[in-house]
Symmetry: C2
Subunit: 212 residues, 2 copies
DNA sequence: GCAACAAATGAATGACCGTTCATTCATTTC
DNA sequence: GAAATGAATGAACGGTCATTCATTTGTTGC
């Protein structure tokens, strides 16, 4: 269970412990849900003592918030590095990369997605969760809409609405993740990825091919 | 707060009270989230005494389960009545009705959606929640795929995959609901509906028009 | 109008859990 | 190697909450 079965208690810098506790929290939220999580569960998962959570984070609530932030930051970093890169040979390649990223192993990790949807499910009643989740999405929407606008321009498409396509893409990805997470037998990850590709292929037929 | 400020305590048949408590639970889950809900909150919302929840439902957990079931049943009933009806003048009209239903006031009710996503967010760690949520979706997917297959046949389309389109549609609707619920300023309901129409219009150009 | 019954109440109970803090112990400093 | 430092521990505390049940109150049958 515990990674290192150290007999002796080793002091570690604050940052190392915080990271360790956040990783344990992600696992526990995935296993027990947001409403089933307890400090004892998390600290046991981390192989540490109960009091450690309040020592490094001020409270359980702060630990949960930093965990959510950590998951969204990681996603945002990966996504931004694609959207802000100038190294892609074409607009199509950039859209292609976005799709590949959204279904890459680090992103469709069950534990991280469980954290994301666990907090989203409570977001309406917790302003702080809501702020973290929707700041993530609104920054993304802006850049994705710009990328889509560029693709439409290149294709000479004057009717399609890039904003609408971007909002639809983000929602579709969220929905596919959620469906595949909750019941992977009904919606296997490959099928989810195909559905997303389908969406992009019909919006940008000159850039994205149906099959891959 | 309480609907009827009755002075006198009135005995009511079991079914009436259960309905009343389920309605109060929906409101409370929306207001406080699944992890913030308490029996005291629910019974106060219903204007009844604490003990009533355990009198009519065996436990808090059973009350929550019946609440989830009630929300999904209501949705399933409305959806099934469209999908199984033979009264539509055309396949396009039936698809159009499905879309209208998915954004009708009774369906995009904030409280009911909050219940749906609250439970979905915990579904991975609660097999019972998972079973209720995904049974709903898999019955729907079957019928929607059949409808889409019919539309593709009518259009002479031999390449598109009706199963994939149905899975995508369900996921898209889930994602749009979730995004509009969490941050309606970023994704207003009108825009969400337009995004869904866009999806259908590009899959079934001979049946669904872009604008409405 | 009076039993007999059923519905509803809410104070009491006990389990669970977040937080605290006196204590332990590894590490550093001189 | 002794003293100082601060990371880590976990038993104890107090608050919250689901559940129980003795009691009250409305309803039904006669």
């Amino acid at each position: 269970m515990t990674k290192t079965a150290n007999k002796t208690r080793r002091a570690q810098p604050k940052e190392v412990r915080k990271e360790q506790l956040i990783r344990a929290t992600i696992k526990c939220v995935a296993k027990h849900g947001l409403s089933g999580i307890t400090v004892a569960l998390v600290t046991r998962e981390a192989g540490l003592s109960m009091g450690i959570a309040n020592l490094h984070f001020e409270s359980k609530e702060k630990l949960l918030l930093e965990t959510l932030q950590s998951v969204t930051d990681e996603y945002a970093a990966g996504q931004t590095s694609i959207l802000e890169s100038a190294d892609f040979p074409s607009t199509g390649a950039k859209i292609e990369a976005l799709l590949a990223f959204d279904f890459s192993p680090a992103v469709i990790d069950k534990n991280k997605l469980a954290v994301w949807f666990g907090f989203l499910g409570e977001a309406r009643s917790r302003p702080t969760y809501q702020r973290i989740c929707s700041r993530q999405d609104s920054m993304a929407e802006e850049s994705i809409a710009a990328l889509f606008r560029l693709a439409l321009d290149e294709a000479g498409d004057r009717v399609a609405d890039a904003d609408l396509l971007a909002a639809g893409y983000i929602a579709l990805i969220d929905g596919l993740w959620l469906n595949a997470l909750v019941d992977p037998r009904r919606l296997p990850w490959d099928k989810a990825r195909s559905a997303a590709r389908h969406y992009l292929a019909s919006a940008f037929p000159k850039h994205i091919a149906l099959a891959r």
